[in-house]
Amino acid sequence: MTVLRDVETLPGVSGWHRVCRLTDLLPERGAAALVAGVQVALFRTFEGGLHAVGNLDPFSGAQVMSRGLLGCRGGVPVVASPMFKHVFDLRTGESLSEPGPGLPVFAVRVQDDMVEVSLEPASQPASSSADTADRAGTVASGER
């Protein structure tokens, strides 16, 4: 029922993980990264904004979010899953196209031209369905 199992127990999970150079990311395109065993989708927008969300498309069960198209909906930066085109808010992970589970969102930053990701959630994975409320607690370690 959880996307990230036993996050706290994995060695080396906490803190910032250095992933790649900023120039490895194509503008307005995504890339998948394997961070301490967790698949993360990284996006770099035209404006230079960076986003990191879970790579798993919750509607299809496939690890494909990094291959989705970026865009905006009413000023909100979004990614559309390449599988069934479900659209998610890159800032909150919320599913915008229909009620359902959202994506976990991770903190991401650039240090010395290197992209770094923290698996500790930048925000709670948004979900518009009530039954997943407890999942947020499982995923969010709450330690920063």
Partner: protein, 837 residues
């Protein structure tokens, strides 16, 4: 009560009387001329062809049936009838159901031996005996059926079935002149000739000539022609049998028929007439349904009179619509197809043998009648709509009604079959929630959220609802562009803009989204403005175009090398097999005559392409909104029936249009003869070989809303064919909406097929030169996207599993074995309650 005549009408009357007269107040006597009791004359031919038993159910013992004793006189004053044997029967009520007699025109020789009519079982027995003797004594002898109407064609088929070379002679200019118009008659003629019969229409007959044995041997036609005719069958219409009525002084029509009122009562109140002998309101009815209606009316009248009550049963004319399968050919006419004050809408497909004509009121709003030959599947709906306001344009109605705008789809129609959402569910969702956008409709109803193929239909329903509600329908592509795809295409074409950034800055707003980006990428690619993976365009493509492969459900891709026309050498087949084996891929033959290799991880794609490209393969563009394949049958090179080299043409077309980016995928096919083994009429453009060249069909579709392609042009040379397809495709690319296949594009095109012909063939818009040049640019600039990518280190960067671990395969991808091949297992999905499943 006495009934004279024991045909289907008399039989039906007695049955109706007996069923409604349980008390037995009527004593019924039936006097029949034939030695047989009533039989089903409508099915007469089956007596010959299938040896069918035509007998109608016997009446119960309360009915007295006298067969083989013709009535010779009626005494109205004494209320008696007299028969040939001298029998005199009294009546309180008399019903004449004497039917009709075949009309034999007064031509010399009409009484020769070997000349028949086609009315009774006795006629058929005699005809069969004669033909059997004829084929024995003179094998290969010909036969002539005089009359190309309904019954004449049945007779012709029967005569042919008896082993005689058959000619049909019709004095009218075309077959079935009472039911069909000229076009329908002409199409029917093609079918009849295809069955091996000879048709001589518009040809009066001069005389029958006897041979040495004194029997008929030939028929001389006007104009001097002579037909070999060891047998002649007259089926040139019927005349009402009204001689008894005349003899006793009942009123008869000028051209025959016993005059009756709407209660079927003759000029003598105690005498009724029903069936083919009756003249109601100046009309004699030869179809069985109105004859039965009359029988029912009279049964009611008689029973009412017997119980001394009023009866309101009336014969109120009949719907003369007919649909029949004549010799395996659907023929139907409905309403009044001969209305002079109506407008005609005609569709002819000479290859498929289909003719359809609608007659509509002069404002094109009301259906008046029509004719269908070759395909009468629309008959029930069309007949029901006679006299009513049409739900769509006449063309839409002609092609089945459901092709009409979304607003006309019946509520029960399932629009989204993935989620089982009906048109009504979509409409009520739109109304209840005041939805105005497709995305909202999808979220609200779930329609279009799975495979997405119904989204254009959902949009049409939404547009129709909004229009009906007075909301202005926006043609905007998405929130970033106010323009439709066609408008954006023109903007890009005219301004020469080559980047999405500039286009959205100058003509849109915001940063774009997953809807507008691929559309613009496709437009830029269609106009030849750079490689689809170059520079900024790389960010616009959805994953399939981005990775030049097709995303599958577990995040792997499938790879489809081009196999033009479906033709492949053993060496290349072996290479595909080796590649699949070496990379552990699942292989399946596609519907487009190629081979799909499934289960490739993203980092394997370049390695697979390397092997394929080295063996001479190239991308098959299975991932693109582009030409997919041109399917072909084996054609004249090998096939006994082929008339042109369909494989060669398919390869030429596929190589010409490969890589062409379009609003949606494009499928094509070439068939080497009219047998159509390549299913070209289900394609965006289809080509069928003829003796004289190629017939071109456009706008066909399989998929969720199948549509037969329309015949666009016939007997084209190679050059003409390619020129027309060039322009058709470029005009489609220029003007179609986002994700609109050619089928719905053609339906939405103002002026439809005729307009398309004017643009493509006659260059009505003066753009043919531009379209030709655009296609020439495409053909000249084509290069293989796989080979290009392999040669470009910058592009190769995207084919890694993880940006920080390029050599680690995606651990979520796993397979199990089924029928000796891999099948995907969703590892992550197994732990996840996958939404919406």
């Amino acid at each position: 009560m006495v009934v004279v005549g024991h045909g289907p009408a008399g039989h039906r009357l007695v049955e109706a009387l007996r069923a409604r007269d349980a008390a037995g107040t009527c004593r019924v006597t039936v006097l029949g001329e034939e030695t047989r009791a009533a039989y089903d004359r409508v099915a007469l031919t089956s007596y010959l062809t299938e040896d069918a038993d035509l007998a109608l159910p016997e009446h119960d013992e309360a009915v007295r049936v006298v067969a083989g004793d013709p009535v010779t006189g009626i005494d109205l004053a004494a209320r008696t009838v007299t028969t040939a044997s001298g029998l005199v029967v009294e009546y309180d009520a008399l019903v004449l159901a004497t039917g009709s007699a075949p009309f034999v025109p007064p031509v010399p020789g009409k009484d020769l031996p070997g000349v028949f009519v086609y009315r009774t079982i006795d006629d058929l027995d005699a005809l069969r005996e004669h033909c059997t003797n004829l084929t024995l004594s003179r094998p290969g002898a010909g036969g002539v059926v005089v009359g190309g109407g309904l019954l004449g064609l049945e007779a012709a088929r029967a005569v042919q079935g008896l082993g005689v070379e058959t000619h049909v002679v019709e004095v009218a200019p075309w077959l079935m002149p009472r039911q069909l118009d000229e076009g329908g008659g002409a199409m029917l003629r093609r079918h009849v000739e295809a069955l091996g019969m000879n048709v001589h229409a518009g040809t009066p007959m001069e005389r029958l000539e006897a041979g040495e044995d004194g029997a008929v041997a030939s028929v001389a036609l006007a104009g001097g022609a002579s037909l070999d005719a060891g047998v002649v069958v007259f089926s040139a219409g019927v005349r009402p049998r009204d001689e008894l009525a005349r003899g006793c002084g009942l009123q008869v029509g000028e051209r025959g028929g016993i005059v009756v009122d709407e209660a079927c009562r003759t000029s003598d109140p105690a005498v009724f007439a029903i069936g083919e002998c009756a003249l109601v309101d100046g009309q004699v009815y030869g179809l069985v349904a109105p004859c039965f209606s009359m029988a029912e009316v009279v049964a009611d009248q008689l029973l009412a009179a017997a119980s001394d009550t009023d009866c309101t049963a009336r014969f109120e004319g009949a719907d003369l619509s007919t649909k029949l399968k004549l010799m395996g050919v659907d023929v139907a006419s409905f309403g009044d197809p001969f209305r002079a004050d109506g407008l005609d809408v005609t569709y002819t497909d000479p290859v498929a043998g289909i003719y359809k004509r609608l007659v509509v009121s002069d404002d094109a709003r009301t259906l008046l009648g029509g004719v269908l030959v070759g395909d009468a599947s629309g008959y029930p709906a069309l007949r029901a709509q006679v006299g009513t306001r049409l739900p769509g344009s006449p063309e839409q109605v002609l092609f089945g009604g459901t092709e009409a705008a979304g607003g006309d789809l019946p509520g029960a129609t399932v629009i989204c079959s993935c989620n089982n959402v009906s048109a009504e569910a979509i409409r009520s969702g739109i109304r209840a929630e005041s939805l105005t956008e497709v995305a909202q409709v999808k979220a609200c109803t779930r329609a279009g959220t799975t495979c997405g193929s119904c989204v254009p239909l959902v949009k049409r329903i939404l547009d129709a609802e909004l229009t009906a509600a007075g909301v202005e329908v926006s043609r905007a592509l998405c929130e970033h562009f106010e323009h439709s795809r066609a408008e954006l295409f023109d903007i890009v074409r005219v301004t020469g803009i080559t980047t999405f950034t500039r286009l959205i800055a100058e003509h849109g707003r915001g940063r774009g989204c997953d809807i507008c980006k691929p559309v613009v990428a496709s437009i830029l690619a269609s106009l030849g403005n750079g490689h689809i993976l170059d520079g900024e365009q790389a960010a616009l493509q959805d994953t399939n175009d981005h990775h030049l492969a097709n995303l599958q459900k577990n995040g792997t891709y499938s790879v489809v090398p081009r196999i033009p026309g479906g033709e492949i050498t053993p060496e290349r087949l072996i290479v595909i097999g080796e590649v699949a084996r070496d990379f552990g891929l699942y292989t399946k033959i596609t519907g487009g005559q190629r081979i799909d290799l499934f289960g490739a991880r993203v980092e394997q794609l370049p390695l697979i392409w390397r092997r394929l490209v080295d063996a001479g393969f190239e991308s098959g563009h299975a991932y693109g909104k582009a030409l997919r394949t041109v399917k072909s049958c084996v054609g004249s090179t090998w096939c006994r029936y082929g008339v042109q080299d369909s494989v060669g043409m398919a390869i030429a077309l596929e190589l010409r249009y490969r890589g062409l980016r379009a609003p949606h995928k494009i499928k094509a096919a070439v068939s080497g003869c009219a047998r159509e083994c390549a299913e070209a009429q289900a394609k965006d453009f289809g080509v069928i070989a003829t003796e004289g060249g190629w017939n071109l069909y456009v706008g066909g579709n399989g998929g969720m809303r199948p549509r037969h392609a329309d015949l666009f042009a016939t007997d084209l040379s190679d050059e003409e064919l390619i020129r027309y397809v060039d322009r058709f495709l470029m005009f489609y690319i220029r003007t179609a909406d986002r994700l609109q296949r050619t089928a719905s594009w053609l339906e939405s095109l103002d002026g439809g097929l005729d307009y398309l012909r004017e643009v493509v063939v006659e260059d009505r818009l003066g753009i043919a030169g531009e379209l030709d040049a655009a296609m020439a640019r495409h053909v000249g600039s084509y290069s293989d996207e796989w080979a290009d990518t392999l040669a470009d280190p910058e592009r190769m960067r995207r084919f890694v599993s993880f940006v920080n671990a390029p050599d680690v395969p995606d651990p979520s991808i796993a397979f199990e074995t089924e029928r000796d091949q891999i099948r995907p297992v969703l590892v992550a999905g197994a732990e996840l309650e996958v939404a919406g499943r």
